[in-house]
């Protein structure tokens, strides 16, 4: 599914003091494309994901999402950009422990002016799609690892993102749950045409991706 480029990174570098983590990386992702970013630990893949998603600014280079350059945006502009354009799935779920499943899903919408009923409806619809309709009011502590990650996926989708960023989304899950989560991501990709950039170090998970980008020592090698 290729409908034009949605995300572009041009000549991206990132330095932490003397340490150069990214060394002039350029890449682009098309609308509806499922891209896996693989590499050894310390190869710079998480840093690249952070920069492309607007969590972090590059030391140099440009990031364009939907044609807009976000490399020089302020912190608040980046936050708004993230809310409106991207969704995140983290390895350790990062759910808020004091919020129920549906409240966690609705978290990105809390600062948005909208009726609370509408906020709840959107969150519960997504949880139904994740087959968690019976767990809406449970706190994260009462959910299994797979359920937590499905809540996290629903949270990533609630603001209708253009690109979904997943950083080792199955890293904390057993193999059966890993398969279920990957099925959900592929379904989102196939059925809804969502662009996904997934960081992983497990090569088995990259097989079903549209494209695999390998990184080594801060550079794209393939």
């Amino acid at each position: 599914m290729n409908n034009g480029t949605i995300l572009t990174g041009e000549d991206l570098t990132k330095r932490y003091g003397d340490l150069e983590v990214l060394k002039g990386v350029s890449l682009s992702i098309d609308t509806g494309e499922f891209v896996c970013l693989a590499g050894k630990s310390g190869s710079g893949k998480t840093t690249l994901l952070s920069i492309l998603s607007g969590l972090e600014r590059p030391t140099s280079g440009h990031v364009r999402l939907g044609g807009k350059d976000i490399a020089s945006a302020t912190e608040d502009e980046l936050a708004l950009f993230r809310r409106e354009n991207v969704g995140f799935i983290f390895q350790s779920f990062n759910l808020i422990p004091t919020l129920s499943a549906w409240e966690n899903v609705a978290l990105p919408l809390f600062p948005v002016r909208m009726k609370s009923d509408e906020r709840k409806r959107r969150a519960t619809d997504l949880l139904e799609r994740m087959e968690l309709g019976h767990r809406m009011d449970h706190l994260p502590s009462a959910l299994s690892g797979g359920e937590k990650q499905r809540v996290a996926i629903a949270r990533a989708l609630v603001a209708h993102p253009k690109v979904l960023f997943a950083d080792e989304p199955t890293g904390n899950l057993d193999s059966a749950t890993e398969e279920a989560i990957m099925d959900i991501l592929h379904r989102l990709h196939r059925q809804e045409g969502l662009a996904i950039l997934m960081v992983t170090h497990e090569m088995a998970l990259t097989k079903s991706a549209d494209r695999l980008i390998r990184m080594h020592d801060g550079e794209v090698i393939a």
Binding site: T46, S50, L55, E56, E75, D76, A79, L80, R82, R83, E84, F88, F90, Q91, S92, N94, I96, P97, T98, L99, S100, E103, L107, P108, F110, P111, S116, L139, R155, A159, D167, E168, G171
Partner: protein, 416 residues
């Protein structure tokens, strides 16, 4: 600011919430109770004078009479001239003046403490009319007397008897329970003021110590505007000279053996320390709580919360916790105030204000006014404490929220 998130955070993180609320509430309770105690001692110090319907008493000390026979003035209360009284009545802040004449009368068979009181005046010892146990109050211009009830019991004096005081006869028209009234200027026998003035003016012993005209007095009771008492006290000292004894609530306060009674500065310093402790507790507890939530704040920012959203959420949490602490502190203070209100305080009455001959039984004993410490938490203090809690919560939440909102989500979410 999201109310649901706020409620859940406070409810599910009970340990954090309780630590912040209890810590701050102790500081707030300390602040309230310190001020309530200080006010209670001030109220207590006013009681001896209030009982006699006055805010200030004026006396002038003089020489000890050479010969203790007939009517004499105690050395702590000699003549205050009628002209001086008129000038005092005109002083700013004076709302009313009560006059009295206190005499010791040494008759061959008995010694009396005699007080001449006005027939009708809400200021001064004529308020004894409210403590009549039997008979009636005095009528001006008549040779009649009231006798203190305990004294009457001791000597078998009854209403209708005739007393001979300094060779004058007085019909006993009533018995008065002076123990229910003031401890200042306590006497055995109460006469109309004009009778006491006549006794004093005709006494050679009185005139030898301090010349006395029939319109003069030796005790003054002044009702004054509360806020002008210090200024009035100073003016009276200037007018009456170095031998004047001016009794004010402050002079009683100094007699109370309490740090709270001794100094406004102590209460102010203790209150400031309490506020500082409250702020530090709130700040430290909430700073710890927010540090524990660094990752959570990172998640909020990652999913699109801007700095203002984060600050307003943390600010609201902080204010709500501090308001809860304010109300808990108020409750603790109210319970403590109730407990402290059972404490008794003994207010010493200086001998000069109720002089009795030392050589008579009990004449040298220290007189105390014993009352329950009137500890109350006024609504103004309660409101101040709540407002202070809101301010502490606001400042703490804003500072900590502003600081934590600057974190970069990538830094706190990176290492999993």
């Amino acid at each position: 600011m999201n109310l649901r998130y706020l409620k859940n955070e406070l409810y599910y993180q009970k340990r954090r919430t309780m630590a912040a609320v209890i810590g701050l509430s102790i500081g707030i309770a300390l602040l309230i109770i310190l001020n309530a105690l200080s006010m209670a001692y001030r109220r207590a110090a006013r009681v001896p004078l209030q009982e006699i319907g006055a805010d200030v008493t004026v006396q002038r000390s003089g020489n000890v009479p050479k010969d203790l026979t007939g009517a004499v003035f105690p050395c702590s209360a000699v003549t205050i001239r009628d002209e001086e009284v008129k000038k005092i009545e005109a002083l700013p802040g004076v709302r009313g003046v009560g006059r009295a004449v206190l005499l010791w009368v040494f008759d061959p068979d008995r010694a009396w403490i005699v007080l001449g009181v006005e027939q009708q005046n809400s200021v001064g010892p004529s308020i004894l009319r409210n403590s009549i146990m039997e008979g009636r109050f005095l009528k001006e211009g008549k040779s009649e007397a009231l006798v203190e009830a305990a004294y009457a019991r001791q000597f078998g004096i009854k209403v209708g008897d005739t007393l001979s005081v300094a060779k004058r006869d007085y019909l006993v028209v009533g018995l008065v329970d002076a123990s229910r009234a003031a401890k200042i200027a306590v006497a055995n026998v109460y006469l109309p003021l004009s009778e006491a003035q006549r006794l004093a003016a005709s006494s050679g012993q009185v005139q030898a110590v301090s010349s006395f005209n029939p319109a003069d007095v030796n005790l003054l009771f002044i009702k004054a505007d509360e806020e002008r008492i210090p200024e009035l006290s100073s003016a009276l000292r200037t007018m009456m000279g170095k031998n004047a004894t001016i009794g004010t609530p402050d002079s009683f306060l100094k007699l109370l053996n309490s740090l709270f009674a001794l100094s406004d500065k102590f209460t102010l310093a203790a209150s400031l320390i309490a506020i500082l402790v409250a702020v530090l507790i709130a700040f430290k507890t909430m700073a710890g709580n927010i540090t524990e939530r660094t990752r959570e704040i990172g998640v909020l920012k990652a999913v699109g919360w801007i700095n203002r959203n984060v600050v307003s959420q943390l600010l609201a949490e902080s204010v709500v916790q501090c308001v809860m602490a304010g109300f808990l502190g108020l409750l603790i203070a109210l319970v403590a105030a109730y407990g402290l209100s059972f404490l008794q305080v003994n207010i010493p009455i200086p001998w000069e204000m109720s002089p009795r001959p030392h050589f008579l039984p009990g004449g040298g004993d220290q007189i105390f006014k014993t009352i329950r410490l009137p500890v109350h938490v006024p609504w103004t203090l309660a409101c101040f404490a709540i407002v202070l809690s809101v301010v502490i919560g606001g400042i703490t939440g804003a500072l900590l929220g502003r600081n934590i909102s600057k974190i970069k989500p990538s830094e706190v979410l990176r290492h999993e």
